[in-house]
Amino acid sequence: MTVPSLEISRLTVHFGSRENPVWAVENLDINIQKGESFGLVGESGSGKSTVLRAICGLVPIHNGKLRIDGEELKYPRSKSFYQRVQMVFQDPYGSLHPKHTVDRTLNDPLAIHKLDRREYRIGKALDEVGLDESFRFRYPHQLSGGQRQRIAIARALILQPKILLLDEPTSALDASIQAEVLNLLDRLKAERGLTYLMVSHDLAVVSHMCDRLLVMQFGRSVELLDKSSLRDQSPKQQYTMNLLEASKGFRKSSTEK
C-alpha cells in the first residue's frame, strides 16, 4: 500500500472551555491518495471546514495525527508545509485584501518564500487561471466574483503546492460562473497532478469533482462513499439519503422531519 498523500487519523478538535467544551471534530480518519479528489459533505456546524483549518494549523488540535506523505505535521507549521499545502477560501470577497492589487496579492507568497523570477511566475499564474496581464494591477473591487475566485486560486497555486484545500470554492458564485471555476479546477488538477480536499454542501458539485467523499454530522463521520454509490444514490445511512433527497429541490411531501 502506498503512503497516502494526506493522512488524518483520530483527529479531534474542540473549542470552548475545559468545563464546557464544544466538540467540533471527533475521532475523524481520512486517507487521501496522491492525485485523488476527496469531498467533505455536511451541514453547517458539522465540522467540515474545521478539518481544513486544522490541517493548515489555523485551529489547535486536541488529539490525533496529521501526516503529509507519511511525515507528521508539527505545530506551528513549517514554511515548507505551505509550499505543499494551500487553501482556497469560500468567499472571494473576504479572502483578498481589499487594498492590495492583484500583483501584490500574488507577490506576497513569493516574497515570503524567497522565490526568484517573480515577474515570470506572476504572469504565468494569471495565465493559468485564464486571466490576462491587464488584471495584474487591479484591486479586488474592480473584479467580478468569478475573477476574484480565480485570483484566490492563482494565489494558492503560485507556490506550486501538491495539495489544495478547497473550502466551498464556488458557493458564493452564480451557476454559470461556478461551471467555469469547476472546469478550471479540473484542468489544473489534470495538468499538475494536484490532490484536492474539497468541502461543499452541494452534492452535485461533489459528485462532479470528487472520487470519494465523506459525509459528516456533528463533527463525526457518518459515511464514506465513492462516486459511483453517490451517483446510484445507494448510500447505506439514512442521513446521507436525507441529504440526497434535499438536494433534489422542493417537494410538498418530502420535508417533514
Binding site: 451541514e43 453547517s44 466574483g145 452564480d174 451557476a175 454559470s176 460562473i177 461556478q178 461551471a179 467555469e180 469547476l182 472546469n183 479540473d186 484542468r187 454542501h201 452534492l203 452535485a204 458539485v205 459528485s207 462532479h208 469533482m209 453517490l230 451517483r231 444514490q233 436525507n242 441529504l243 440526497l244 434535499a246 438536494s247 433534489k248 429541490g249 422542493f250 417537494r251 410538498k252 418530502s254 420535508t255 417533514e256 422531519k257
Partner: protein, 278 residues
C-alpha cells in the same frame, strides 16, 4: 385564472452615477395573481431591484419609471409617501436574504414581532403578544416561548429566518416578496423554510414573489418562473415546463449545473451573446 394582484408594465430603474447612467432594469413586464412566481437571474440581472421597486424601496439616486405599476387597483406610480407607508408591511411585505442583518440585534425577537403587529393593528400589548406567539408556532418554531424572549444572536440561521417570516406574515399581507430567503441556509433547513412559506401562502391565499439565483429550486417551488438577464425578462415559463425552455440563456443556465447522477467533463459553460442584452 386568479384575479390579478400586481401588474407591472415596462418597469425601468436607472441609477445616475458620476460618470454614466446605469440601467439596472430595462423594461420588465409581468403580472401576478395569488400564486407563487419565481424571478431567477444572476447577480446584477436586476431581480432584487425589481422586488424593491414594488415596495418603493429603490435606494437613491435610483429612478423608477413604469407604464403601469398597479397593486390591487392602487396605482403605485403616483402613490404618495403616505400611501406607500400604508401598503408596506400591511399589504406587501418583504423577507430579506440574511436574518443576521435584517433583525435588530439588540431587541428580543418577541418585541420585534409585537412592534410589527401593533404598527398596523390597534391592539393591546397582551393581544399582540398572544398573536406573536401564535405566529411563531405557525412557522414551526417548537419552543415559541423561549424564542419570543431570545435575541437574534441566540438563534440559528434557520430559526432566525423563520422568525423573519413570522414577522412579515403577522400583518397578514396580500403579497410577500422574498429576496433569496433561503440562500444563507443549509439544504435541509432550506426545504423546511420553503415548506412553511408554501403552507402559509396557500392557506392565506397570498401572492408570493420568490427571488432567487437557484433555477432548480425555483422550478420545484414556484408555479411560474420569470427569467431575467441584464435587466430584461428573457423568458416567462410555467415551472413544470422549464425543461422545454427555448431561450439560449435559460438553456445555458440549466446546462451548466452539475448533476448528482454525473455530468460531462468539462461542464458546458454559458456562452453569452451580446444580442441577449440588447
Amino acid at each position: 385564472m386568479n384575479p390579478t394582484l400586481l401588474e407591472i408594465e415596462n418597469l425601468r430603474i436607472s441609477f445616475q452615477t458620476r460618470t454614466r447612467l446605469v440601467e439596472a432594469v430595462r423594461g420588465v413586464s409581468f403580472s401576478l395573481g395569488r400564486e407563487k412566481l419565481g424571478i431567477v437571474g444572476e447577480s446584477g440581472s436586476g431581480k432584487s431591484q425589481t422586488g424593491r421597486a414594488i415596495l418603493g424601496l429603490t435606494p437613491a439616486p435610483g429612478k423608477v419609471e413604469a407604464h403601469k405599476l398597479i397593486f390591487d387597483g392602487i396605482d403605485l406610480n403616483r402613490a404618495s409617501r403616505e400611501t406607500w407607508r400604508k401598503l408596506r408591511g400591511d399589504r406587501i411585505s418583504m423577507v430579506m436574504q440574511d436574518p443576521k442583518f435584517s433583525l435588530n440585534p439588540v431587541i428580543p425577537i418577541g418585541r420585534q414581532l409585537v412592534e410589527a403587529y401593533r404598527a398596523h393593528y390597534p391592539v393591546t400589548k397582551r393581544e399582540a403578544e398572544t398573536a406573536s406567539l401564535k405566529m411563531l408556532d405557525a412557522v414551526h418554531i417548537r419552543e415559541s416561548k423561549r424564542v419570543f424572549r431570545a435575541y437574534p444572536h441566540e438563534l440559528s440561521g434557520g430559526m432566525g429566518q423563520r422568525a423573519m417570516i413570522a414577522m412579515m406574515l403577522i400583518t397578514d399581507p396580500d403579497l410577500l416578496i422574498a429576496d433569496e430567503p433561503t440562500s444563507a441556509l443549509d439544504v435541509t433547513v432550506q426545504l423546511q423554510v420553503l415548506k412553511i412559506m408554501d403552507e402559509l401562502v396557500t392557506e392565506r391565499g397570498m401572492g408570493l414573489i420568490f427571488i432567487s439565483h437557484d433555477l432548480q429550486l425555483v422550478s420545484t417551488f414556484c408555479d411560474r418562473v420569470v427569467v431575467m438577464y441584464a435587466g430584461k425578462v428573457v423568458e416567462v415559463l410555467e415551472a413544470s415546463q422549464l425543461e422545454q425552455a427555448t431561450h439560449p440563456y435559460t438553456r445555458g443556465l440549466l446546462g451548466c449545473l452539475p448533476q448528482i447522477e454525473g455530468s460531462p467533463h468539462p461542464l458546458p459553460t454559458l456562452q453569452r451573446e451580446s444580442s441577449w442584452s440588447v
